[in-house]
Subunit: 136 residues, 2 copies
DNA sequence: ATAAAAAGATACCAAATAAGTATCAGTTTG
DNA sequence: CAAACTGATACTTATTTGGTATCTTTTTAT
């Protein structure tokens, strides 16, 4: 099982590339550079824009840029746009929350792990994964 | 997104129940006790048996029991039966491993998180989540 | 011996999600 | 005005998830 789905993966690459570029970056350029399907990448960048991670400028010569510094964009934020909240397990019972909810030892342990996972993914910023000498 | 899928979840409950029971436990009994669909649970228990977590005895009066002590069965093992290996991201590029594989900073960071996640899930044993006074 | 009660093995099915395409509308600039 | 962009939205297709159904084999109680 994967924790980072394909769209999140593509998104991370695209954002990395945009972060490493001065000025605006167009989807056309990105899809060629990263060798990713143009229409799919377009949908992804649109979602990132709606999610507040990118800022877009329409019209000829338009494109995308980061909505905030690369240091302040985390992997967690990116994945949330496509994957929603991470939940270790719904831990439901017949459609309702497990009746043992309050005392359930499993839930307690999983919650702790989940919290830690969030924290760690939050700490990985786009900035931290860009190779500074990278030739995008 | 969920880290523990429904079949893993059901499996954990079933194993917990089996662990808390002396002798053999049949699917019929389990499905009634846990109020889970019989045929689905059956498939799950069969998979657990093939995965080496349960031991089965056929024929009338037959059923399942743990293949090893509850202390030695971890949530990780159970989830592996249904979800395979946890992989934070395939991090592929056109079907191949990312060309920046060796140096990729993202992969390095995700690998560390993944390793830690595995470790933690491995440490949650079935034994640790059973309420000792539980009335299965 | 035979029927009931169990698991084994498979094949199938439906809904949801993932992955991707297509298209039309609006915007900006040369 | 047309070329090069994004916005919005509606498909389409493939895969995975969450099951069901059915037939076979094994064991035991009667």
């Amino acid at each position: 099982m994967k924790l980072i789905t394909r769209d999140s993966d593509y998104a991370i690459r695209a954002i990395s590339c945009i972060a490493a570029t001065k000025g605006l970056t167009s989807v056309r350029y990105l899809s060629q550079k990263l060798e990713l399907p143009y229409p799919f990448l377009r949908k992804i960048l649109q979602a990132l824009t709606q999610g507040g991670l990118l800022f877009s400028i329409k019209g000829r010569g338009g494109g995308f840029k980061l909505a905030k510094p690369a240091k302040k964009i985390s992997i967690l934020e990116v994945s949330r746009v496509f994957q929603g909240k991470f939940i270790l397990t719904e831990h439901t019972f017949k459609g309702k929350i497990c009746p043992r909810f309050k005392v359930c030892k499993l839930k307690k342990q999983l919650d702790a792990i989940e919290k830690d996972l969030m924290f760690k993914l939050k700490k990985i910023s786009i900035d931290s994964i860009i190779e500074k000498d990278e030739n995008f």
